[in-house]
């Protein structure tokens, strides 16, 4: 994509390899596969090393929780990063540039309730608000605000499916990939909120000052992710 000098006048080129924040967890394997397909050697990051930082020929890979990626990228500790759209939506106040939809890690943010149970509708009708348990308070809040309904938000950190089963809340807002966890816990999708996939993000300053490298990586990932 970009040839030519990223910046005029030589001395302003930042030195050192580009730093890429790689999400551990559900997106980890597919992220490494995509990087391989894009010509970034990820062999050092595979295997069961406890290290968090891996050096390849052209890049430094730093591995972290997906929800930490926007934090590191916004601060410039990582120049670019990969994380889920769910994370970006939940942390929409973080200033990062969203450059590319990488296509994998497909899942849906949904409102779910107990199968065959009318609590959600009944609370809405008789109490004027639903009690919603979620790990994504901002997404949930925005969604119900946008659809003109009032909720009482209950933020939990762990398995949110548990909440409505034992009476903490009428329903949940959560991320669903296959729907198996929901089904196994006797829950069903009531409303679809948004589709999420993995995204490439960049630090604002790195996007300006390392333009050639960022554009090159974006172009390679675009090709690899469409293959």
């Amino acid at each position: 994509m970009s040839s030519g000098p990223g910046v005029i006048g030589g001395p302003t080129h930042p030195e050192g390899p580009l730093t890429l924040a790689v999400p551990r967890g559900a997106l980890f394997e597919e992220t490494l596969d995509l990087l391989d397909a894009a010509g970034v050697d990820t062999a050092p990051a595979r295997g069961d090393s406890r290290s968090l930082i891996f050096h390849t020929d052209e890049m430094t890979l730093v591995t972290m929780r997906p929800s930490d990626v926007p934090t590191y990228v916004e601060a410039g500790a990582a120049d670019v990063g990969i994380t889920g759209k769910d994370v970006l939506l939940e942390q929409s106040d973080r200033v990062v540039y969203e450059l590319l939809d990488l296509g994998y890690g497909k899942c849906r943010m949904v409102l779910a309730g107990r199968r065959g149970d009318e609590r959600l509708g009944e609370s809405q009708r008789r109490l004027g608000m639903m009690r919603i348990a979620t790990k994504y308070p901002r997404i949930a809040e925005r969604y119900f605000e946008d659809t003109g309904r009032q909720i009482e938000l209950i933020e939990v950190k762990g398995s949110v499916e548990l909440a409505p089963l034992i009476g903490l809340g009428d329903g949940i807002v959560d991320l669903v990939a296959t729907g198996r966890t929901l089904a196994e816990n006797d829950l069903e999708v009531r409303e679809e909120i948004v589709d999420c996939t993995a995204r490439l993000v960049a630090n604002r300053v790195a996007h300006k000052l390392r333009a050639a490298e960022v554009d090159d990586l974006t172009a390679r990932l675009r090709v690899a992710s469409r293959a």
Binding site: M1, S2, G4, P5, G6, V7, I8, G9, P11, T12, H13, P14, E74, A75, G76, A77, D93, V95, Y97, E98, L99, L100, D101, R199, N203, R204, V205, A206, H207, K208, L209, A211, A212, D215
Partner: protein, 334 residues
Amino acid sequence: MIHPIPPGTRDVLPDEMRELRRLNRRLIEVFEGAGYGEVATPAIEYDEVLSRGNRPSSASPYRFFDENGDLLALRSDMTVPIARLVATRFADAPLPLRLCYLASAYRAVLPQRGEMREYVQAGIELIGAPGAEGTAEVIGVLEAALDAAGLDRAVIGLGHADLYRSLLTEFGVEGEARDTVLGRLATHDLVGLEAALADAGIGDPAIQTCVALSQLRGGADVLERAREIGGDAVERTTARLQATYEALVAAGTADRVQIDFGLLRDLGYYSGTIFEVYDPAVGHVLGGGGRYDGFLANFGLDLPAAGFSLYLERVHVAQMEEESRRRERAAADV
């Protein structure tokens, strides 16, 4: 005993103050040396004055009543108070007018983000000097200020505030769709931008033009690449950026300038050329500025104007990072 202060404010102790003073002195010397006289204005003004013009994003978040029931506000930058000052005190002064400042400003913060409510800005305003020449003078002073601060790797991104507004008019994107597209451009959400443009019902070529422009940044060669993209709005913007760039080259101050068609600044008063300052050692923007030719009309003076401000604390952070980098490199060279 620990006595708390509000989040987003801080005390400055002697070690830091000594360094900040040194930095302040250097910056003011540069400004004064270029003919910019320092002014001070009150931190509190009438809210009605600070909210002149159509600038929702920069209106003060801190408002209160005085003993007469008048609504006062803490300033959120210095450009508006100086516009007020110029209209009131210098309405008949010979032009151009050159003013500088070093002052605290106040803004709203997001909780638990370590953001500062109170921060110091150092900057200049050049009033009554139009077009590329005026802009080039302002950028020249900015470069001298960065040199004086020891930030020899800092880069100035140069863009144009009107580009996407006129481009979307050219494509016939209006109303809500237009706001959505401009919002996505401002946050630089390219995935969302493509979706919003598709929703706006413009064809693929127009979508590609918009997306490609937002990624177009680099040396003088990007002016040519922009021309290849084509269209009236792009041509107009490119011509203006080229004029500014050539004025900088003529003044010998183009070295650290990067042309950036994706640049947008969120302050509503900018109308022409805009710019931002980056240093590779820090992930945040150090400051910025631009032309605000129509803005003084809100105070009854129809004069062209341009200026910039640097966030003093961030410049100080960059200074420290650059110094430690120089030290490390010197140690590595031994």
